[in-house]
């Protein structure tokens, strides 16, 4: 729904500059786009955008419409956009323009500005992030991008490893296949490698979100967050160490 919303008429020109940008330079182009629109008269921008918004809301009577919140790298722009969209009658919010190469330090204040301006009771969808932060739903492309980090795990030492990717994992891949087999499939560039990895990754992410929901419901989210960040640092450290020790990484 959010994508249909974005593609309608002039709305896309105002609210979705990233559709014209390439991966590496997206972040700076988004900034450039927002700089440009900030130079326009605020009233023109407002009128153009929201007349379009009302027209689209009229058409989508059966589905949910999510409003897009953008604003580039400026906290003020982000806050203003979020506040304006929040005033409109939409069922939820799509937060765009993240996961394009910005650092955590750049991202957090911007996200905070957005999220603090949005109503509590409506869902917020964010695309392209590596880790969930302060949003509710994540786009499935995350699991796909995790595939790239997983490939590092399939180094030479996994060639004869007949254990599953994760020992007590209940996903189809871990219940049926070994690291040795997946290592082989990756080496010979077989489609099945990616299918099996994506099944495992998706299973993990869905489980991860279940844990988050449970932690929030039991009022233990802050503890959960600390524990997660702590164990992630440990994992990254040991992965980096083992990369250094690997004789050859077969890709």
């Amino acid at each position: 729904m959010a994508y249909q919303f974005l593609s309608k008429g002039s709305l896309s020109k105002h609210l979705c500059p990233r559709s014209t940008a390439r991966e590496n330079s997206r972040w700076s182009m988004v900034n450039a786009g927002m700089e440009f629109s900030a130079q326009k008269n605020l009233n023109d921008w407002e009128v153009d955008t929201f007349v379009e918004l009302y027209r689209i809301l009229e058409e989508f009577k059966d589905g949910a419409v999510f409003g897009s919140v953008v604003g580039g790298s400026r906290v003020e722009q982000r806050r203003r956009c979020a506040q304006e969209v929040a005033r409109r009658n939409v069922e939820g919010f799509w937060i765009g323009g993240f996961g394009l190469g910005e650092s955590m330090e750049e991202r957090n204040p911007l996200l905070r500005a957005v999220v603090d301006s949005l109503p509590e009771e409506k869902p917020r969808l964010i695309s392209g992030l590596g880790l969930p932060g302060k949003s509710d739903i994540m786009n499935a492309s995350v699991t796909h991008s995790l595939l790239r980090t997983h490939r590092k795990i399939f180094a030479y030492r996994c060639m004869k490893d007949i254990s599953p990717i994760v020992d007590d994992c209940k996903c189809y891949t871990c219940q049926n296949h070994t690291k040795a087999y997946i290592n082989h499939l990756l080496n010979v560039h077989e489609m099945l490698a990616h299918i099996l990895l994506e099944i495992h990754n998706t299973h993990h992410f869905l489980g991860f979100f279940r844990s988050i929901r449970e932690a929030i419901q039991e009022g233990k989210f802050e503890q959960f967050r600390q524990k997660f960040i702590g164990s992630r640092h440990e994992h990254l450290f040991s992965a980096a160490l083992s990369d250094q020790l690997d004789i050859s990484v077969q890709d």
């Binding site: 060639m159 004869k160 007949i162 070994t178 489609m191 299918i195 099996l196």
Partner: protein
């Protein structure tokens, strides 16, 4: 010998049998999908079981390269490595070398080639091929044969045939697991009936568990093709499985089954899926074609597979025109089609309605009655009356729906002109 072959039904030369292998009890005629590198492109082993695959082929050449037969042996064999609980067959590696490698050459010792990894000269002997296949651990292994294309003529064919016979003895001697793995010999001899006859006799003397008809499906004309199959199936032992290598198209499989063959393998169903082509009773359906863009029907309305029950042509068109993953659904459907064809061949023979099945098959594929001449000739030798579904001997196109129901009606009564 590590197999049992029990014939359950016949129609003239065609037979339906139970082939009991160490890992699975199969029913023939059967088609074996090719899982070159220990996987069938994009399909999980669960999906292959759902589709009804009984035996899968692994390519020795590819597996010996990566991940190596030693590694496969260490982890307990290819069945364990890829987690496939049913039967496996490995080929000898010889064919891949000759067809894939630039400077492969065949001598009495074996196949010499340049290693694709580092360019060093290497040699695959019959002994080495069998040892590799012993390590991989398939239910059926193939002897290393001297393969020549049937489009070649001259003394090379005779040389290859005699060498194949000499090599079979070396293969038998090198085979360390005759009670767990079945070594099949391969009949060579090009398109020459005399050479083929010598080769068949020579292999039969060695009393092998099963026999393959090799050197076909390489560009020869269809008329020569079926004649070689017919000659070999007539001469090979009745109570042992007969495997026609590299076949193929559904039509070819029906003809060869009518002539008395039991097993087939081919990359065609999965390869054609990657080009966006689906197998249907009428022939093929090209999903990349513009007309599929808004066609909301399933690929084949008569097909029960997961793909036809869940997705439309329009959706698959969208997938296959974008990326390779789109072909995964087509591979699933195409293999389901081939497995269903195998099941239909088996059950129609067992239930005594094989000729009717053949006629229905031909009628769907050739609704104008234009069954190719080579098929008609082959069916005549097989003793199957297909006059009800082919207009070869009539100069007018005929309406054939009525004729299938009642064989006793003469053709002249049922010929009507439709344009």
């Amino acid at each position: 010998m590590a197999l049992r072959f029990e014939i359950l039904g016949r129609f003239n030369r065609a037979r339906a049998a139970q082939l009991i292998l160490p890992h699975y009890e199969c029913q023939t005629p059967l088609f074996m999908p090719v899982g070159t590198q220990g996987t069938i492109k994009g399909l999980t082993t669960h999906q292959l079981e759902d589709i009804g695959c009984q035996i899968i082929l692994g390519n020795t050449y590819h597996l010996a390269l990566r991940p190596t037969s030693e590694l496969i042996d260490e982890v307990g064999g290819l069945h364990k490595f890829m987690n496939w609980p049913r039967a496996l067959l490995t080929d000898s590696g010889g064919f891949q070398m000759v067809s894939l490698l630039h400077l492969a050459d065949i001598t009495e010792k074996g196949v010499t080639f340049q290693s694709p990894v580092d360019g060093k000269p290497m040699l695959l002997t019959p002994e080495e091929s069998i040892q590799i296949q012993n390590r991989i651990g398939a239910d059926i292994i193939m002897a290393l044969d001297d393969v020549v294309k049937t489009t070649i003529t001259g003394p090379r064919i005779e040389e290859a045939m005699y060498r194949t016979l000499r090599w079979i003895d070396r293969c038998i001697a090198a085979h360390k697991k005759p009670h767990e793995q079945n070594l099949f010999g391969i009949v060579q001899g090009g398109l020459d009936p005399v050479l083929r006859d010598i080769c068949v006799k020579g292999l039969v003397e060695r009393n092998l568990p099963g026999y393959a008809i090799g050197g076909l499906a390489g560009g020869e004309d269809k008329d020569s093709f079926w004649r070689v199959v017919a000659q070999c199936t007539a001469a090979l032992p009745e109570h042992k499985p007969r495997y026609v290598m590299g076949v193929g198209y559904p039509l070819d499989i029906v003809v060869c089954s009518a002539l008395g063959a039991d097993m087939y393998d081919c990359v065609y169903p999965t390869r054609t899926a990657r080009f966006g082509t689906a197998l249907v009773p009428e022939g093929v359906l090209r999903l990349k074609h513009k007309s599929m863009e808004d066609d909301m029907r399933p690929i084949d309305p008569t097909c029960d597979c997961m793909v036809c029950k869940t997705y439309t042509r329009a959706y698959i068109h969208c997938l296959v025109t974008k990326d390779a993953m789109g072909s995964q659904l087509l591979s699933y459907h195409n293999l389901y089609y081939m497995m269903k064809l195998s099941r239909d061949l088996h059950s129609s023979i067992v239930e005594g309605r094989f000729p009717e099945f053949v006629c229905q098959f031909l009628q769907k594929m050739f609704p104008q009655g234009d069954v190719p001449e080579w098929v008609c000739n082959a069916m005549e030798v097989a003793g199957i009356d297909i006059s009800s579904c082919n207009a070869l001997f009539s100069s007018l196109p005929s309406k054939v729906e009525d004729t299938v129901e009642d064989d006793t009606k003469s053709r002249s009564e049922t010929v009507t002109i439709t344009f």
